[in-house]
């Protein structure tokens, strides 16, 4: 395999006395589905926030697709090709599904105030393209019928899908999904799994946080395990599953 798509090394993040991420390093290859698991409070979401620019890490290295993204603003990170969803869905609740996805394309489009007011041909064309692409994405995740519903009125599962569509609208190379299956019933989870495989097959690398171990085992190419802010294991699903440190972390064998 050539150089990895995403590579982080020695990432530290502290909140006051809490050492939320302690020397975390990992590399994700283009085209894989990479899983991130660990007990609650292990630092998974913190790592996500660091990887998407919402938190600034204290030290470490962070490169993506040839760009240095260490301590870069979220819009730089997104422009470089990383998009995300949130553990507790954060849609633009009072915008329609379609508008949510249109907002997602903000970073790939350029019309400004002048374009908005005068609607010159270029701005018109861009606006039309935004709308078309948004519709395509809604179709892609399977909620095209609900495009004019307000995001807040969608069912839970559809909101999850809409969040994925909105993230895909930024045209990412890496899609980071924070517990996308949380709260879903088995059939919804199955649908989601298919969607993620489809996204991967279409060339987008996926980084996934999930508690549903069964889902992770069947879906991920590689998995990393975080515990107390440290990476304690990494490898193919079956390797990780049998790693004694992982079992200890999950089953809570006394750490001393």
């Amino acid at each position: 395999m050539s150089t990895p798509l995403l590579q982080i090394q020695g990432i530290h993040k502290r909140f006051g006395g809490l050492h939320a991420l302690n020397d975390v390093g990992l590399s994700i290859n283009a085209g894989e589905i990479y899983g991130l698991i660990g007990p609650n409070g292990a630092g998974k979401t913190t790592l996500f926030n660091v990887l998407t620019g919402l938190y600034q890490p204290d030290e470490g290295r962070f490169t993506f697709d040839g760009h240095d993204l260490f301590r870069k603003k979220p819009y730089v990170v997104v422009r470089s090709g990383i998009a995300r969803t949130f553990q507790n869905i954060r849609l633009f609740a009072n915008m329609t599904a379609l508008e949510n996805v249109m907002v997602g394309q903000h970073v790939r489009t350029h019309s400004g105030v002048i374009g908005a007011i005068f609607r010159h041909p270029k701005a018109r064309a861009e606006e039309a393209a935004i709308r078309t692409h948004a519709l395509e994405l809604l179709e892609y995740v399977g909620i095209a019928k609900r495009r004019d519903e307000l995001a807040r009125n969608l069912s839970y599962g559809d909101q999850r899908r809409l969040e994925i569509a909105r993230a895909l609208a930024t045209r990412p190379r890496l899609l980071a999904l924070d517990e996308p299956a949380a709260g879903m019933n088995p059939s919804e989870t199955e649908g989601l799994k298919k969607l993620m495989q489809k996204i991967r097959d279409d060339g987008v690398t996926i980084l996934l946080i999930e508690h549903d171990v069964k889902l992770m085992m069947g879906l991920c190419d590689r998995i990393a395990v975080l515990d107390y802010g440290k990476k304690i294991a990494e490898g193919r699903p079956e390797q990780v599953k049998n790693d004694p440190r992982v079992i200890e972390a999950y089953l809570g064998v006394a750490p001393e």
Partner: protein, 370 residues
């Protein structure tokens, strides 16, 4: 009633045509039908200025969700811009080419200067949220006013509390807007001329607002209002988008202020007190935040109601008690305050919210009942 017809292209055309005719003849109906008609046209002129202000503030508060309690500062900046360049007060100190600039250029200068002040306000408050933002914007408004009140020394720039007098009226398209014009057998007085001038700019601002609303920028503003963190994570440059909202809103205020100064012929810090900022905010919220027709309605109601009350209160008192029992000025503001409370209690979403927002409220009701 069925309004479906209004949605068809034909229906829209007819609606706009009727609206256009009504707006065109309105000042003549007022001057023809009322004894003090000119005062009414004047009141309408001010209402139009307030519509522009309310639409500007609506961008900041209604779209981008940034609570601004010092918005009148931008109106003040626009007004002083116009006043300083178009009155004898400061002209002795200015190079000749800066005297009485062409009208459209003047408006651009006012819009630009106010926009710069918008950035000036926006930059330090980027990280502030909600009510912290409110108090800082309020402070900013007061700072601007206090400076205008005191910048008469050491160098006399603003002429302090006395304000600036003898401001030249607009000269535009060969018309001196300060003198009556005879046309089509009608005498266009200053209030009439200004009515059409301000109306034109009001329509322009409505147009710009509508265009912005349905654009990439407009969507980014609403996304920011809905969830700043998600907007950030979607790659929206929060800083730029916020600053743009402040600057756009401010520039509307600047244009409106310049028109105000030229119409009034006089500016002083007293026109730009905190209460004015609050009134503009009331227009936006009472009308229906984020919904252009609602905001326009709010501006009309809030600016015209006190004027109507002024005319009806004394006759009402005399009819009820046979004499003037209470100070009409206080009574009218009292009724105004009560009306504000009543409207909000009955329609917290505003008088004319967007359908979407009305729906949102309706659901709240159902949740509350459940």
């Amino acid at each position: 009633m069925n309004f479906a017809f209004l949605q068809t292209p034909r229906g829209k055309l007819i609606t706009y045509a009727i609206l256009g005719i009504v707006l065109a003849v309105l000042p003549w109906v007022l001057t023809g039908g009322f004894e003090n008609g000119k005062a009414w046209v004047r009141a309408v002129d001010f209402a139009l200025l307030y519509i522009m202000l309310a639409l500007g503030l609506n961008i900041v508060v209604g779209y981008a969700g940034l609570l601004d309690l010092g918005y009148i500062a931008f109106y003040a900046v626009g007004a002083y811009c116009y006043a300083l360049l178009n009155s004898p007060h400061l002209q002795a100190m200015l190079p000749y080419w800066a005297h009485n600039p062409p009208f459209l250029l003047m408006l651009l200068v006012a819009a630009f200067t106010a926009g710069v002040f918008g950035l000036l306000l926006g930059t330090p408050v980027l990280k502030l949220r909600g009510d912290y933002l409110a108090i800082v914007t309020l402070g900013f408004g007061e700072i601007i006013r206090i400076f205008m009140n005191n910048l008469d020394r050491p160098i006399n720039i603003t002429n302090g509390p006395q304000g600036i007098n003898n401001i030249e009226r607009v000269h535009f398209l060969g018309i001196d807007f300060g003198r009556p014009v005879q046309w089509l057998g009608l005498t266009f007085d200053m209030v009439h001329l200004y009515y059409y001038l301000i109306l034109a700019f009001c329509v322009l601002i409505i147009f710009v607002t509508l265009r912005l609303q349905h654009s990439r920028i407009g969507r980014a503003w609403v996304a920011l209002r809905e969830d700043e963190i998600a907007a950030n994570a979607m790659g929206i440059n929060i800083r730029n988008v916020k600053l743009l909202a402040f600057a756009m809103g401010a520039s509307f205020g600047g244009v409106s202020g310049a028109l105000f100064a030229s119409f009034q012929g006089f500016v002083s810090p007293e026109s730009f007190v905190l209460m004015e900022s609050i009134m503009v905010l009331c227009m936006v919220v009472l009308g229906g935040m984020g919904h252009i027709p609602g905001v326009i309605l709010g501006a009309i109601i809030v600016s015209i109601t006190p004027e109507i009350l002024r005319d009806v209160i004394n006759p009402m008192q005399e009819a009820a008690f046979g004499k003037r029992v209470l100070d009409p000025e206080n009574l009218r503001m009292l009724i105004f305050g009560l009306a504000m409370i009543a409207i909000m209690l009955v329609r917290p979403e505003g008088l004319w919210p967007s359908k979407r927002r009305a729906r949102e409220f309706h659901e709240h009701d159902e949740e509350a009942r459940a």
